[in-house]
């Protein structure tokens, strides 16, 4: 069931009532039952994979903890050999962690990526006229999310940051909690576990803030995203008849659509979770106010970026090959560049995987390379940029410079949307050609904002302005805290305004599945 449907609101209302009448200690069981119901309803054919992944993660977690216990016992018996036992058991834990990661990634790779790799194999073997049949698996909903959440959980046990959850049902709730299962955020066990398993008494503050956030998320999704989507889609599907400027605008429409769609979803599920007193991780921090591409990725899909940083970037960057690569770089290219080599080594992997994580296609690989190249380029060229800024007497604290950096970053990340925006890699390349070779000016407003009436375009512009202003306020202080200090009349006027807007031009979903951009990942 998609979270912008009336069915979801009904599901939420019933669950809300049941949650607060259920005895405190059984409330987590109710959330588990609701999460399983939600998942089965959304993807009836594939809950088996979720159960398989969760069982592997549960067993591996408990086993690693058992190894920790055994290690402590050995040390207690033979204190002089403490370092030796620690080393031995660390190796054992590493083997368990590696095996569990390989198993889970294998499930993900087979179900989501086998078609892509078979396609490459067929291209390579074309000369021998060999054709491997392309598998057509049903990709389970949320597999990219719950697999990474589970792997993160195991890493944290390995590092000794958390204790393994011995109760399988409780672990399943952590992995399958309905607000996070379809599109994240990638919650960590540490702040989530206590919140999930503790029954929360009703608190008006949670109810009020939760409802406000759901309303705001519905506005972003149904008013902004769903009305902007046909515009960006029209540009990307009919780009060959569009001017270069329209194609360029199409990239911007796509970027803003993606933000309204994905952050709108997060607002809805974060608000839904808040109704039960459970605060999920924040996934966005006004990404369009970022002053560099690296900062943009610390503000956009924060939990995914943090996952890649903690569980892939750091392990790779401090690994022996990366350290040796750094030493080689220092020797041959100087200390400054050599110092960056371990980071560059890890970034190359991280961005290839980030591209793949989004979709098993070359266009997402190119998109990943593009982001990686911009971040790495900024690191390598930093002294030259600094010299240029000095020569141009740029005041880095000035408003104009900051504005320039914000606009530059926004345009760069928008331009990279030529890859995910187009239907395939060939179209992406043709789109780029059209954008940079067709210098005609759009003939009329319908070529600037295609596939939408003038009236809808105006309402869309107003809603975009409202979304922007709320982000400006939120950048300084939480909007809901600001609103809470206003008189009752003002607060309700805001709620009603949003509600009227949603009912007037919002696009309701009746369907049970789909509807959100990031659900496909």
């Amino acid at each position: 069931m998609t979270v912008n449907s009336l069915f979801f609101l009904l599901f939420l209302a019933i669950l809300f009532l049941l949650y607060y009448v259920c005895p405190l200690r059984y409330r987590w069981l109710l959330l588990l039952a609701a999460s399983v119901f939600f998942y089965v309803l959304a993807c009836a054919a594939s809950p088996l994979y979720l159960f398989l992944t969760s069982v592997i993660i549960w067993i591996a977690g408990v086993y690693m903890e058992r190894l920790d216990g055994e290690c402590q016992e050995k040390i207690a018996q033979e204190k002089t050999a403490s370092a030796q036992w620690k080393k031995q058991y660390k190796q054992k834990k590493k083997r368990v962690l590696t095996a569990a990661i390989i198993l889970n990634l294998a499930i993900l790779l087979i179900l989501k990526y086998s078609g892509f790799f078979v396609g490459i194999g067929n291209s390579v073997l074309a000369f021998a006229k060999v054709k491997i049949p392309t598998p057509d698996f049903l990709v389970p909903l949320g597999i990219s999310y719950y697999t990474l959440i589970g792997i993160g959980y195991l890493f944290d046990i390995y590092k000794g940051k958390i204790q393994a959850q011995k109760n399988y049902a409780k672990l399943l709730l952590f992995l399958a909690y309905f607000p996070q299962i379809t599109q994240g955020p990638l919650n960590r066990y540490q702040p989530m576990a206590d919140q999930l398993y503790e029954g929360h008494p009703f608190a008006y503050h949670n109810f009020s803030y939760g409802c406000q956030r759901i309303l705001w998320g519905l506005f972003k999704k149904m008013v902004v995203a769903d009305n902007l989507h046909p515009v960006s889609q029209a540009v990307f599907t009919q780009f060959e008849s569009m001017t270069g400027l329209t194609c360029f605008l199409g990239c911007i429409y796509y970027t803003v659509w993606m933000y309204a769609d994905f952050s709108g979803y997060i607002d809805i599920v974060a608000g839904a979770s808040e109704l039960f007193g459970i605060h999920i991780a924040e996934n966005f921090a006004r990404p369009f106010f970022a002053k560099s591409v690296a900062e943009y990725w610390r503000r956009w899909h924060i939990t995914l970026s943090a996952w890649f940083r903690d569980y892939m970037f750091y392990p790779l960057a401090v690994s022996k090959p990366a350290v040796n690569f750094g030493k080689w770089g220092r020797k041959h290219l100087g200390v400054r560049v050599g110092k960056l080599f371990p980071s560059l080594f890890a970034l190359a992997f991280v961005w290839t995987c980030t591209g793949f994580w989004h979709d098993a296609s070359w266009r997402y690989v190119f998109w990943g390379f593009g982001n990686g190249a911009l971040i790495m380029g900024a690191m390598l060229l930093e002294p030259y940029f600094n010299r240029a800024k000095k020569a141009l007497r740029v005041k880095e604290d000035s408003f104009l410079w900051k504005l320039f950096c914000i606009i530059r970053t926004f345009l760069l990340v928008s331009l990279l949307k030529v890859f995910p925006g187009a239907a395939n890699t060939g179209d992406s390349l043709r789109f780029i050609k059209q954008m940079f070779t067709n210098f005609k000016l759009p003939a009329g407003w319908q070529e600037v904002v295609p596939a939408i009436t003038k009236g809808d375009a105006l309402l869309l512009a107003v809603s975009l302005l409202l979304m922007f202003l709320v982000d400006v306020v939120q950048e300084k202080q939480p909007v809901r805290d600001v609103l809470a200090k206003r008189p009752l009349v003002v607060r309700w006027a805001c709620y009603l305004f949003l509600l009227v807007f949603i009912l007037a031009i919002g696009r309701f979903q009746i369907s049970m599945t789909g509807g959100f951009a990031y659900a496909q990942f």
């Binding site: 000794g160 610390r298 750091y314 960057a317 980071s343 690191m379």
Partner: protein
């Protein structure tokens, strides 16, 4: 400690490392700074910072980083 401060000052001359107590939590140092710092620490103190140690609490202040180095030196 002085050797560590020297490395940190060279890495980020704009930061007052003696005052800062939340280098990671307040995003004073980013992940690229941390990786460069780890490279320097490995060389200067003859240790190997493992990925398990890549946690905010180990890099939030000069004292925390120093404690980490000492712990790694003791573990050999």
């Amino acid at each position: 400690m002085e050797k560590l401060l020297e490395i940190l000052r060279e890495l980020r001359p704009d930061v007052d490392f003696e005052k800062e107590k939340a280098l990671i939590d307040d995003a004073v140092l980013d992940s690229f700074d941390i990786v460069s710092l780890v490279g320097e620490i490995n060389d200067a103190f003859q240790v190997e910072v493992p990925f398990e140690a890549m946690e905010a609490e180990n890099f939030n202040s000069v004292q925390a980083i120093y404690n980490l180095i000492q712990k790694l030196q003791q573990e050999g």
